[in-house]
């Protein structure tokens, strides 16, 4: 499952999307909006077609690189309040070590090559009303 969406991330659905009988480990990572001083929410902006392409590519590379069984990535677009989930990565593997490693690697790659930007909602009120 690869997705970019305005609505809340259904974490159970993301986990379910990678569950398999030959998996002995499922790792779920959630990136959440932290209550830094003055922050009530973050606005996420996405170059959607390129972001989806890059997310699919890196999920495929994770399978090859770590020998995992499946990897899902779902990212939010638009406003996400403090405490909300902005990104979910779920990874299934035969054993826990590669599941942990692949999930961590995939999140680093999302931050490196997937065109998604965040802005402090407090300073971008106009955009938040889109």
């Amino acid at each position: 499952m690869i997705g970019i969406q305005r609505r809340r991330i259904d974490i159970e659905a993301v986990v379910a999307s990678v569950r398999r009988d030959d998996a002995g480990a499922v790792v779920l990572f959630l990136g959440t909006v932290r209550a830094d001083p003055g922050i009530r929410a973050l606005d996420y902006e996405v170059y959607r077609p390129m972001a989806l392409t890059k997310m699919k590519e890196l999920a495929g590379r994770a399978r090859t690189k770590f020998g995992i069984l499946d990897l899902s990535i779902v990212h939010r677009l638009g406003r996400v309040p403090v405490g909300g989930d902005s990104v979910a990565i779920a990874c299934a593997a035969a054993h826990r070590r590669e599941a942990f490693e692949a999930a961590a690697w995939a999140m680093d790659e999302v931050k490196r090559i997937v065109p998604i930007w965040k802005a402090e909602a407090a300073q971008t009120k106009r955009r938040g009303r889109r």
Binding site: G31, E45, Y47, P49, M50, T53, A104, M107, D108, K111, R112, I113, V114, P115, I116, W117, K118, A119
Partner: protein
């Protein structure tokens, strides 16, 4: 050649537009298009060394040759967060 330029996040705010259409001579490189845009929008100039560049949704170097109808994206570094 007609080239569509897409701008994102802080660059979109600096330029005041999310899409630009530009006509360029055949065979120009992305760097040439970029030089023109930075002259047109000097507030972008300070970001030249850190901007991410893509043509048709693939990251490219400034030496990339453009073709008619290409979609160029000029993007700030992808937003961080510490590991």
């Amino acid at each position: 050649m007609r080239i569509r330029v897409k701008l994102f996040a802080t660059y979109r705010e600096l330029v005041g537009a999310r899409d630009l259409l530009r006509s360029v001579p055949d065979g120009v490189r992305l760097a040439d298009l970029l030089d023109g845009l930075l002259r047109e929008y000097p507030r972008l100039a300070g970001h030249r060394d850190t901007m991410l560049l893509a043509v048709n949704r693939e990251f490219v170097e400034p030496t990339e040759r453009l073709r008619d109808g290409d979609e160029v994206a000029i993007m700030p570094p992808v937003s961080g967060g510490r590991p």
